[in-house]
Each structure stands twice: as structure tokens, then as C-alpha cells.
């Protein structure tokens, strides 16, 4: 008599297991197959092409009714199993029962539904089965929101976009597919998705799904609202273990199986996404098929052992080529080989460990993915081909390539600089005419003088003509790049780069995450260039700017509240005194910038102190920032017997307009009410000295490591015009100076005449003031208030205190 085999779940894993079983032992088992879905086994991986319209459901069916009939399988489709009676060896569905000699649980996984208000509204779907897919296929011309920027979510998003939906992807993490991709590849993927009209919102936490009778919109924690006729939750899956739990089988995260795919009950087996094997869960198809093979042999009483191998990931979105396999996290003893071709949007990264490939991430060109994957799986020693490894199998064994040979082979009419249409012949002629440096080449031919991406090539052509390296190559911004500060700024502008990963990818950064030199610089350049779009990255700031206080040598901080124009009130002084006492401030000191410094504050006390000072109406004095520091004033004509103008009033006005702004280096202002210059305005970055006839504005002073006297920029009888000139020159400095250049240093580089010409032109001046105001609409705000909220305050204290546990 045939033994009875009952299977719960007609998915891809159990389907493959049945194929193996029927091939090897066609008559051994009498099979009953339960499935909650009202259909048999189809290729779930192909739901994405069905969604996008590239395939139909019929095309992805693996086992049709004829197949089940031919193998004598009793199909109970649309019958979810509700209980397993292990004692009696009977399975009960909602309609029928079946006895078993062996039971296979293949219940797969359940989508993880994030517990937000509105999650149960009609119009909220997961992406697991054909019903979900059909709901998403009906979104043409509608708004759809996908929560989750992983593999599944992006396939859902791309599919709906191909159907004509307006799609937004909300992703909690900083970049898409963060488990498979590093930030650079994630950025390229995001760019490609955005090109096809998909909105991508990273670092977005869903707060609620809004709607009355059905989903209408998605609300994020940051207040953003996206309209949504359909919401697809694709944040993850978890093993479907409810039946096994109820049957008291051993269940951890998944149903625990041994190497033979047997559960804690010798008559019960499990495979697929519902199982946990040696602490590991499985979501990709390759290991599931291995499990199927092992289980089929186990059921035939043959010894078989499931040993999972590494698997690779490919995204099934037409036009987005990515490949990810292995482990690409940085670690001791690991090295990266990175190849970037910004123009073609290509990124390849190999992670090597002990001369073997440990991980592969590829974007844009994944043709060699399976070759690398093979080397990784086989543990091939790649030290012999390391030099050309990244170029793939086509380059192995060939002669090594000399980049100069490639340049030498270019015909004379080959275009080197695309922006200015400069050919190789033009550059060679210019070199023959004496242009031996890059600067000289730029000024006489304009080659590489616009966007700068061809700089390296221009240098190579010049080196070819000169028979050696080109002199005076501008130094790179840091060791991570050969591009100079000026090049990076120009490229951020001309290529519309709007994030740090975008800059690093497009400009070919040589390190993975930059360094302490380039990250703060890039953060500044991006926020200065794209004030409305770029979000300040706190983690790319030096400690003082990240913590909005100056760190002292013992790790405590100093706190300086703003005193507008150096003017304070008894109430403010009382609040400062109270704060000093409350937080046991060891020193209270008057600063050179006309305010009061509270020194020696513990980090965890900072938000509490700020909260107290905020309550008294005070804001951060930004005494720590590469930004507006102070506007020092004298009392002016309101009190002083020789004062000519209201210097205090002007100082306060300037500070109220400019506070919160970030600049390449610190920016200090001074306003003196008469030429006696009590506010020492002529050693500030920008100084105003009032005279009877109006205001003399001078710039470029300093009293630091270098002492500099300001030089005259402009004079005006009007206070309003004085303010406009100061805002304009500040913006000009913000837009053009190299990060960490004080104003005088920038002035020395560009020349006072050029600055004057910009400021004197009414249209240019007005545009500069307007751009300054646009930036200030974002940055004229108090960081103390934002960082001392009930959610932020605990983050200033230690994460844990293990000394307390010891005492307990």
C-alpha cells in the first residue's frame, strides 16, 4: 500500500520537492496537497513581470491541473489548513481532513505589516500573491505608495510605474536596498528609478495611512504626505509558523529543521521560507530548491544533508541592472577594488579577503556578475589577476594596458573637452605654444575649464606631448579624490549633484565613505548649493557643529547664547546665571565677541540647559560654527557723544538677518559708530565704520593666526543699502570660497576687484541677496530648540550605564 504524504502549501519549494520525488519514486507516495490560495504552483518570482505587463499569469504557471492529475495528486486548493493533529496524524483544513504518514509544512512566509494606524484599510496590500499583484495592476493613472525600498518593494514600484501609476517609494533607511547594496550603488539605483518618474523618499518613517473608507494618503513622521489610492507594504517577510506553533513543533524564528529537513516530530518535515536551519532563514530561491532536493531524498529514506551555499541577488526591473552577492561590509583584512564610470552610471565593487572574493556589488553593467560569483563560490585565489580582475574575464591573460597608449592612439581630431569642443590636436598645439601647465591650458584653450570631468584626460594628452607628468596639477581636495575643491564645487553645480553619495559616485571617489577632510567640505558645498533640496548631514560635521557647542579638552562643552549686537537684558542675565548655577558651570566668562560663555558643561546637560535658555528667549550663539558668529558693536549715536550713526541698531539688524547661516569658515562682523572704531570693525571679516555721511564697508580682516586689516569694499549713505551689500558679499563668499578659507584668503585668490564688480552690479547684488534669503529660509532657525525636544534629549546621554548594573 502506498504511504500517505500530505503537503501544506503549493509553493515553489514544495513544487520542486514533488518533481524530485515523482522522478525518483513515482509510486511511493499518495500525495494530498493543500493550498490556501485557490490555485496551484506558479513561479512567484515572475509576479513582477506580470505586474509590469511583460508576462501573463498563464505564462508563469509551473504546475497546471494536467500535471497534478498525471501524478495523482489530490489537490485541495483554496483550503487553508487550520490545525495539525500530530497524535492522530491528521491535518484539518477549513473544509476537510487528511491522514498522513508523512507531513510536509511548506507554508512559506507572511508579509510583515507595520503596525501603523490605517494598515487595515482597503487599498493597503502586501506583495505576496496574485491577488496583490492584480490590485497593483489596476493603478494606471492613480497614485501609489510603496513602503519599503528593498528588492520586493522596488519591483512593485517599477511594475506599477510601467502600468502608468504615479509611484512614491518610502524607505526607512538612508539608501535603497541597503542589505544588498552599498550607498554608492543605492544612489545609482535611486537615480535610475527617479528617471522613470518614481519618487524616492529615503529616511522616511511611515506614521499612518490616512483615509476614511479606503487608503487615500500616507503620512510620514516628518510631516510629509503622499497621496495614495493604493499602498503596498513591502517592508519584509517573516516565516509563516502559526500552524507549527499551534502544533507545538519546535519553532524559533522559523520552524526548526535538521539537516534532513525534519522538524522536532519525526513524521513532520518542513521546507521553504517557513523553516529555520542552523539559525538561518531563507528567502531566495536557490537554497529552497536545494532543500527540496534534500527533502525528496529524505522521504525516499536516503541520507541527504542540506548545506546552504551563498546566493546572489538580482533585481528584476527592466533597465536597472544590479547584482549583489556575498558580504560587502568592510572588515579587518578586507580590501576593496572599486571601478566607477560616472558617465555611464556604472559602479563595480569587489571585496577581497585573503586573496579571495568575499563580496560583489555591481550596478549598471552586471555582465560579469556570474563570473565573479563563480570565483567567490569556488574560493578561487585571485591574487594573480588582481590588476585586471575588475575588468572581468575578457581581460584576463591579455597584455597589461597602458593608459598612455590609449591616449596616444587617439586621432588628432578626437574631442577631449566636450564642453568647449577642444580636440587633441588643439591641446598638442597649445603645448607646443608653451602652455605647459593645466592652468595655462585652461586659459588658452578652455580645455577642462568648464565642468572639469575631462581634467585627467587633458593632463594625459599634455603629458604625452611633454613626455612626462604635467606640472602644477591642482592638489586634490583630500586623499579620496584628485579633484580640487574648485572642481568639486563646479561639478556639484553643473552636474546637479545633491547628496554626498552622489558626489562620491559621479566624481569617482577612491574611498568608500570619504574621510574627515572631504565629508565636512562636501556637506557645506551641498547645503550652500542646494539649500532647499539638500538636508544637512550631522554625521559629516565636526563635533562642535554636530553638538552645537564647543568641546573642551576634558570632553565637556561650552555654551554661548546669542546676544544680538552684544546687547542683553537683566532677564537674560538672570536666566544665564540660573543656568550656570543649576548645571554647576565651573566658569562663566565674557567673550571677545560681546557675549557670555558658560564653560565646562557635561554633554548630557546640554539639551536641558538649552531648554532653559530657550525659555528665556535666547538662542544658540553659534560660537562653534563655520558660520555667522557675532556682530560686535559700539553703543553708537544713541548714547555716545561722538557716535555718528546707530551702530548698535545696525549690528542687531545684521545679526537678525544673518544668524544661522553657514559659511566656508567662521564669519565675524563689527559695526563701529565712528572712526574711533571701538568695535574693532577693521579686523573683522566684514566691518562697518560709520561716518557722518553714512557707512563705510570693508572686508577681509582677521585677528587670528594672521592679523589682517580690512580693505574698503563700498560706501553708502543708506543703512538698507549697507545691509544689502553685506548680505551680497556674504553670499558671494558662501558660493565661491573654498571650505575653510577665511574671507581674506578667498579675497586674495579671486581679487578685490572681482568682488567689487559683482557687488557694484545692481542685478548681481540683488540676485545674491535673494539667494542668501532663500538659504536663510531654511537655516535661520535655532538648533538648540530642535535638539532639546523630548525625543532628542535622551540621545545626548550615554546609551547605557553598565556601572549601575555592577552595583545592583
Amino acid at each position: 500500500m502506498k504511504k500517505k504524504l500530505v503537503i501544506i502549501g503549493a509553493g515553489m519549494a514544495s513544487g520542486r520537492m514533488l518533481e524530485q520525488l515523482f522522478d525518483a519514486a513515482p509510486d511511493a507516495w499518495d500525495v494530498t496537497l493543500f493550498n490556501a490560495e485557490p490555485r496551484g504552483n506558479y513561479n512567484r518570482l515572475m509576479l513582477s513581470p506580470v505586474l509590469s505587463g511583460e508576462k501573463t499569469y498563464e505564462q508563469i504557471v509551473t504546475h497546471d491541473a494536467d500535471w497534478y492529475a498525471a501524478h495523482g495528486v489530490t489537490c485541495r486548493f483554496g483550503e487553508p489548513v487550520v490545525r495539525i493533529d500530530r497524535a492522530a496524524r491528521v491535518v484539518h483544513s477549513n473544509r476537510s481532513s487528511a491522514e498522513y504518514d508523512a507531513l510536509v509544512i511548506a507554508t512559506g512566509s507572511a508579509p510583515f505589516i507595520i503596525p501603523v494606524p490605517g494598515k487595515d484599510l482597503p487599498g493597503v496590500v502586501a506583495y505576496r500573491d496574485l491577488e496583490d499583484t492584480q490590485a497593483m495592476m489596476a493603478t494606471e493613472g492613480k497614485d501609489a505608495v510603496v513602503i519599503g525600498g528593498g528588492l520586493l518593494g522596488l519591483e512593485a514600484a517599477a511594475g506599477m510605474a510601467a502600468r502608468g501609476a504615479r509611484v512614491t517609494v518610502i524607505h526607512l533607511m538612508g539608501h535603497l536596498m541597503e542589505r544588498q547594496l552599498d550607498p554608492a550603488a543605492g544612489y545609482l539605483l535611486q537615480r535610475d528609478l527617479e528617471k522613470r518618474g518614481i519618487t524616492v523618499h529615503c529616511k522616511g518613517a511611515t506614521k499612518a495611512i490616512l483615509g476614511h473608507d479606503r487608503a487615500e494618503a500616507v503620512l510620514l513622521e516628518d510631516g510629509t504626505v503622499y497621496p495614495a489610492d493604493l499602498v503596498c507594504m513591502a517592508v519584509g517577510i517573516r516565516p509563516e509558523t502559526r500552524l507549527a506553533n499551534d502544533a507545538h513543533l519546535e519553532v524559533e524564528r522559523g520552524i526548526v529543521v535538521d539537516d534532513a529537513m525534519r522538524t522536532s516530530d519525526p513524521h513532520v518535515f518542513a521546507l521553504g521560507e517557513c523553516v529555520e536551519h542552523r539559525g538561518q532563514l531563507f528567502g531566495l530561491v536557490a537554497p529552497l530548491y536545494d532543500q527540496a532536493k534534500v527533502l525528496a531524498r529524505t522521504l525516499m529514506d536516503e541520507a541527504a544533508v542540506f548545506a546552504p551555499v551563498q546566493t546572489a541577488t538580482k533585481l528584476k526591473v527592466t533597465g536597472c541592472d544590479l547584482f549583489s552577492a556575498g558580504d560587502f561590509a568592510e572588515a579587518e583584512g578586507r580590501e576593496d577594488i572599486v571601478f566607477r564610470d560616472p558617465g555611464r552610471g556604472i559602479y563595480k565593487r569587489l571585496v577581497l579577503e585573503n586573496d579571495r572574493i568575499a563580496g560583489v556589488v555591481m550596478y549598471g553593467d552586471t555582465a560579469d556578475g556570474s563570473w565573479f560569483y563563480g570565483l567567490m563560490k569556488d574560493g578561487t585565489d585571485v591574487s594573480g589577476m588582481r590588476d585586471t580582475l575588475i575588468f572581468g574575464p575578457a581581460f584576463q591573460g591579455g597584455p597589461s594596458l597602458d593608459p598612455m597608449a590609449a591616449v596616444a592612439a587617439l586621432p588628432p581630431e578626437a574631442e577631449i573637452c566636450g564642453c568647449n569642443g577642444v580636440s587633441k590636436a588643439t591641446i598638442l598645439t597649445a603645448v607646443a605654444g608653451g602652455a605647459c601647465t593645466l592652468d595655462a591650458m585652461r586659459s588658452c584653450t578652455k580645455a577642462s575649464a568648464s565642468c572639469g570631468t575631462c581634467t585627467g584626460l587633458v593632463q594625459q594628452v599634455m603629458a604625452l606631448a611633454l613626455g612626462g607628468a604635467v606640472a602644477e596639477t591642482p592638489a586634490g581636495l583630500c586623499k579620496c579624490t584628485d579633484h580640487s575643491h574648485e572642481d568639486v564645487r563646479r561639478l556639484i553645480r553643473s552636474m546637479a549633484l545633491k547628496s554626498i553619495p552622489a558626489v562620491m559616485q559621479e566624481l569617482g571617489w577612491k574611498t568608500v565613505g570619504g574621510c574627515h577632510s572631504c565629508r565636512p567640505a562636501l556637506n557645506y558645498y551641498l547645503l550652500a548649493e542646494w539649500p532647499l533640496e539638500y538636508r544637512d548631514d550631522r554625521q559629516s560635521r565636526f563635533v562642535n557643529e554636530r553638538n552645537h557647542a564647543n568641546i573642551q579638552k576634558d570632553g565637556t562643552y561650552s555654551v554661548v547664547p546669542r546676544m544680538w549686537g552684544g546687547v542683553t537684558t537683566p532677564a537674560e542675565l538672570r536666566a544665564i546665571a540660573d543656568a550656570a548655577e543649576k548645571y554647576n558651570v565651573p566658569m562663566v566668562k565674557v567673550t571677545g565677541g560681546q557675549r557670555i560663555d558658560l564653560l565646562g558643561v557635561r554633554k548630557e546637560d546640554l539639551p536641558h540647559m538649552w531648554n532653559d535658555l530657550n525659555a528665556a528667549g535666547m538662542v544658540s550663539g553659534a560660537a562653534y560654527s563655520k558660520g555667522l558668529r557675532t556682530v560686535k558693536t559700539c553703543v553708537g549715536k544713541e548714547f555716545c557723544r561722538v557716535g555718528t550713526q546707530d551702530s548698535t541698531g545696525l549690528g542687531i539688524k545684521l545679526e537678525k538677518r544673518m544668524w544661522g547661516s553657514w559659511t566656508p569658515h567662521k564669519l565675524k562682523l563689527g559695526v563701529s559708530g565712528c572712526p574711533r572704531n571701538c568695535a574693532e570693525a577693521t579686523c573683522k571679516d566684514i566691518g562697518v565704520v560709520c561716518v557722518d555721511s553714512g557707512y563705510n564697508i570693508s572686508i577681509g580682516g582677521a585677528a587670528g593666526m594672521e592679523v589682517k586689516e580690512t580693505v574698503a569694499l563700498a560706501s553708502t549713505p543708506s543703512e538698507d543699502e549697507a545691509i544689502a551689500i553685506i548680505l551680497a558679499v556674504t553670499q558671494l563668499y558662501r558660493e565661491n570660497a573654498r571650505y575653510l578659507d577665511r574671507l581674506w584668503k578667498w579675497m586674495d585668490k579671486v581679487g578685490l576687484d572681482w568682488i567689487k564688480a559683482q557687488i557694484d552690479d545692481p542685478a548681481t547684488r540683488a540676485a545674491l541677496v535673494e539667494r542668501f534669503e532663500i538659504s536663510q529660509s531654511v537655516y535661520r532657525r535655532d538648533p538648540w530648540a530642535e535638539l532639546s525636544t523630548p525625543t532628542e534629549t535622551p540621545r545626548w546621554a550615554p546609551l547605557a550605564d553598565l556601572t549601575l548594573e555592577a552595583a545592583e
Binding site: 561590509a329 574627515h516 554625521q539 560635521r541 553598565l802
Partner: protein
């Protein structure tokens, strides 16, 4: 075998940042990289005692905020021309929770 103790959620540590843990053996900085790997090092630069937890994290390195010494988070070794080493501690992430070597509860002499 190392015994681990829960110190908080991974989400409590900013990416490319760190949080401080007070222990019987002094302050320990727990770092989180851009790709969610976690490292624990003594929060004290061997140069002038700078708080490494306040440094800029790049790749698997951190730069001390006081004088820009750079340390490899894997080994605690100073990079480049500088010589020195910061003690590292076993730390791991399990289901979104950060766990650190429980022996840090005791002072070194008692251990």
C-alpha cells in the same frame, strides 16, 4: 566564551556615528557604520585622551575630534604615521539589539 549584555537598540546609534556606554572599565564608544556594522572601542584617544565617540566615522575608521588621529574600528590601531592602539571590545547586533561584552560590567581587577 564571551557573554553579552544588551545595551540598546541599533536605531539608538546614528549611522556613521557613535554612542557612549559607561562601564566599570571606563567609557566605551559604540560605533555604527554606514552599512550597519557595529564596533566598540575605548572612548579615549591614546594621544591626548580625545573622545573618539565624537569623531567623524568614515568607512570603518574614526577620526579623533581633537587632533585628527585616525583609528581602524576593526583593530583599534592608529592609521598612517601615528602610532597607538585603542582597546576594542566584543560587540554584536542581534535582531536589532546591540549587545556588548558583559565582562565590562566588572572592573578589570575583579575579572
Amino acid at each position: 566564551m564571551t557573554i553579552f549584555v544588551d545595551i540598546g537598540s541599533l536605531d539608538d546609534i546614528p549611522r556613521q556615528g557613535a554612542r557612549l556606554v559607561r562601564t566599570a572599565q571606563g567609557c566605551v564608544a559604540v560605533f555604527r557604520t554606514a552599512d550597519d556594522r557595529v564596533f566598540a572601542l575605548d572612548d579615549r584617544c591614546p594621544h591626548k585622551g580625545g573622545p573618539l565617540s565624537e569623531g567623524i566615522v568614515h568607512g570603518t575608521s574614526v577620526t579623533c575630534p581633537l587632533h585628527n588621529w585616525v583609528f581602524d574600528l576593526n583593530t583599534g590601531a592608529a592609521q598612517g604615521a601615528d602610532e597607538g592602539r585603542v582597546r576594542t571590545h566584543p560587540v554584536r547586533v542581534d535582531q536589532g539589539r546591540v549587545l556588548i561584552d558583559a565582562s565590562l560590567i566588572r572592573s578589570r581587577n575583579a575579572a
